[in-house]
């Protein structure tokens, strides 16, 4: 021990007191600035979020209402089954001229002169062409209805829907509008009679793809996305966590693991469309899985999500303090037990965060699906993940390219639905994270 140790104290003696200048004012200013930057950053992030959400919701909330018309439809046997052989030939009920039933009912309601062809055309085009399937489904499910009159809400045409929501600029001259003045008059008549109103658009959730906005829905896409997310979750989470555990806890630190590590980081950077090429080559052309199927989409998205999950999981595993590992090993736990009993639970919040981010990215991804045939028009519900289906972002992407005005709001409506999906995932994650999160 030398006496040199005392010099700091002695040199400081004279000035040492709370008058010592430690630049407090500037440092506090810096502190406040720093804190303000932080708060500003969070606020900015949230501001952008709300700006985005606000604009989406403002544009899309109307999509949840669909203009419908209440008609008293007479299921006239003369129209449906003029020859009366519906029992022997099932095609009769399937191919009957159902739109005529609705048109007649509408003409009656509007008092359209049956001889005025132009007026009839205008009136007919108030109705969606979807009435055919709507009425057909009613009749096929209960043929005894033939001959009776029922009150049915039928969908209005997409243009009428847009007009009713005020999305057409009515100041432009009539010939430039999708809806002419006579039709506007009809609409007013129906509205005043209380038989035309915006009703909750359940079809948006249940219908499959359609070229007509009023009968287009996210049903197939929701199922497809659901299948894909389930596949991604079931495959990517365990594989990703297992790979991370191996790399972080078991793998010897050598060239090979370095290569794997670089590889994984790189896979996270590979543009998503390249995964589409991969999926096409491997899953469709090599493994022979069907095109347009959710299973292929799920596999492709799994591969795409894996790096994200692995990177986040490894970071989370790394953050578990070594003393916990030593403690577990010290009481004679095997490495496997150490990992599964102690390290993994402590890393769970981080893993969850990574998984959610990965899943969210996968949920919103379009480009790779383009190459495996999922950016497609699919009208029928997929029964299994092996049947053709689409996905939520694909539906958004496809609708966003449609010409009809009514698709504009539906695109935003679809985005809202996608965000709801996302919100559900996030809330689940928060709940799970709450349960796992421990500070030490």
């Amino acid at each position: 021990m030398t006496d040199a140790s005392l010099t700091p104290a002695t040199t400081a003696t004279g000035t040492r007191s709370h008058t010592r200048d430690i630049g407090l004012k500037a440092r506090y200013a810096a502190e406040r600035r720093f804190r303000a930057y932080g708060l500003a950053a969070v606020a900015l992030g949230l501001f952008f979020l709300f700006l985005l959400l606000g604009s989406v919701i403002a544009q899309g909330y109307t999509a949840f209402w669909q203009t419908s018309i209440q008609l008293d439809i007479e299921f006239d046997e003369e129209v449906i089954d003029p020859d009366g052989n519906r029992d022997s030939d099932r095609m009769v009920l399937l191919t009957a001229n159902y739109p005529l039933l609705a048109q007649r009912a509408l003409h009656e309601k509007l008092g359209v002169d049956p001889d005025d062809r132009a007026a009839r055309r205008d009136a007919n085009s108030l109705l969606s062409q979807g009435v055919r399937t709507q009425l057909r489904d009613i009749v096929v499910s209960d043929p005894s209805i033939i001959g009776t009159t029922r009150t049915v809400w039928v969908l209005a045409h997409g243009d009428i829907d847009s007009a009713a929501k005020g999305q057409f600029d009515l100041t432009v001259e009539e010939s430039r509008r999708r809806v002419n003045d006579r039709q506007l008059g009809y609409m007013q008549t129906l509205e005043e009679a209380g038989v035309m109103e915006g009703r909750f658009n359940t079809g948006l959730f249940t219908f499959g793809a359609s070229s007509r906005p009023e009968t287009a829905g996210m049903g197939v896409a929701i199922i497809g996305s659901f299948y894909m997310m389930a596949i991604v979750l079931v495959l990517a989470l365990p594989i990703g966590v297992a790979a991370s555990i191996y790399l972080e806890e078991f793998a010897p630190k050598n060239r090979l693991t370095d290569i794997i590590e670089v590889n994984i980081n790189n896979l996270a950077a590979v543009p998503s469309i390249v995964y589409g090429l991969l999926g096409l080559a491997v899953f469709i052309n090599f493994a022979g899985l069907p095109r347009s199927a959710a299973v292929v989409g799920g596999l492709v998205l799994t591969l795409m999500t894996l790096p994200t999950i692995i990177i986040a999981t490894r970071a989370a595993l790394k953050a578990v303090p070594p003393s916990i590992r030593a403690a577990a090993l010290g009481v004679g736990a095997s490495k496997m037990q150490m990992v599964f009993h102690h390290v993994l639970p402590l890393a769970a919040p981080g893993i969850l965060t990574g998984t959610i981010i990965g899943l969210a990215t996968a949920l919103g991804e379009t480009a790779p699906l383009l190459l495996i045939g999922m950016v497609a028009f699919v009208a029928d519900y997929p029964a299994t993940p092996f049947d053709p289906s689409t996905a939520l972002p694909v539906q958004i992407y496809m609708w966003s390219g449609q010409a009809e005005r009514a698709f504009v709001e539906r695109t935003s409506g679809a985005i809202i639905i996608l965000l709801l999906f996302l919100a559900v995932m996030n809330i689940t994650a928060i709940i799970l994270r709450r349960r796992f999160e421990r500070r030490w």
């Binding site: 191919t95 190459l371 045939g373 999922m374 950016v375 390219g401 010409a403």
Partner: protein
């Protein structure tokens, strides 16, 4: 596989989906066909992968199949391909509804958009800044044209039917050839588009072009006729060579800028995939592609009667490429 599988051009996609949807409703026994988007190139590529249920049946295309593609198809065993022409797609120029009318000639577009034009006998980088520079009748708007990106088939039509024609009309093609270029080079040079930001390529679809015009009220965009007809309250269409684009004027051949749309069917699949034959027949029936059909209503320019008749006959006869 029990449903028809279609892939290809995004221009044909809306028509194909209308047909598919109606097909599904009209033939309840057959599942609704799957129609993929992905570009003519992507569609034909899938189409040419081979014959068998794991491959698609129909490729939609907004251009005719190329010889090299046919060859590549044949290599994979896709030898019998039936070509079906479904109608025409009109290409229109439109600007914001509140702007002035444009009476365009190809030469105006050429002078506004070409990378290089001939000024005083010299080939120089395009000096025109505003539409008024091109034609004093036009408004004093800074030139901002939203044209289809090079990936689009529409671009080619635009180049050949507008820029090249304009180039010739201006005498610039000749001037270039006089300057020592051979004809091909001169033509390519004619329709090379300026890259100084006055002309913006759009690789997305027409909604994007519309959004750009919404954002820049002094912009001029290229649209498909169908898209324009759905947005007549927002867009004002320009005449080309004095003709207003309508289905009628295009069908009559008066409006110059249009292109045919196609789809290609694997003959080998016809008897194998349930509903494929029916789908094709349904597609080319007058009920779908005739002048009063839903497709025409949507904006497809129906082919003349005799052409449709010929198409049907050729399909029924099983003619292949």
């Amino acid at each position: 596989r029990d449903q028809v599988s279609v892939a290809g051009s995004s221009t044909v996609l809306p028509y194909a989906t209308i047909v598919a949807e109606n097909f599904g409703e009209t033939f309840p026994d057959f599942p609704t066909p799957i129609v993929e988007s992905g570009g003519s190139s992507g569609g034909l590529k899938e189409f040419c992968r081979g014959v068998g249920t794991e491959f698609i049946d129909i490729a939609n295309a907004s251009r005719a199949i190329r010889d090299s593609e046919v060859a590549s198809c044949a290599e994979a065993g896709v030898t019998e391909i039936q070509e079906i022409r479904i109608g025409y797609d009109g290409i229109v120029f439109a600007s914001d509804i509140n702007g002035p009318d444009f009476a365009l000639e190809p030469i105006h577009m050429y002078q506004a958009l070409a990378a290089q034009i001939v000024v005083d006998g010299e080939l120089v980088d395009n000096p025109n800044e505003t539409w008024a520079d091109v034609n004093p009748d036009f408004p004093d708007w800074e030139i901002a044209a939203y044209i289809p990106g090079e990936k689009h088939g529409t671009r080619e039509v635009f180049e050949e039917k507008v820029l090249l024609v304009g180039c010739e009309a201006a005498g610039d093609l000749q001037a270039r050839m006089d300057a020592g270029m051979d004809e091909d080079t001169a033509e390519e040079n004619c329709y090379a588009v300026r890259k100084d930001g006055k002309s913006v390529d759009i690789d997305g679809d027409y909604t994007e072009t519309l959004a750009r015009i919404d954002a820049n009220k002094e912009g001029m965009g290229v649209f498909g006729l169908a898209f324009y007809e759905n947005n007549t309250d927002k867009l004002k269409v320009a005449t080309m060579s004095g003709v207003t684009p309508t289905t009628e004027s295009i069908a009559a051949g008066e409006y110059p800028v249009s292109r045919p749309l196609f789809f290609y069917v694997k003959k080998a699949h016809l008897g194998v995939i349930p509903g494929l034959k029916e789908y094709v027949e349904f597609f080319i029936s007058d009920a779908m592609t005739g002048p009063d059909s839903p497709l025409a209503e949507y904006g497809l320019v129906a082919a003349p009667d005799e052409e449709r008749e010929a198409t049907r006959a050729s399909f029924a006869a099983g003619e292949t490429l």
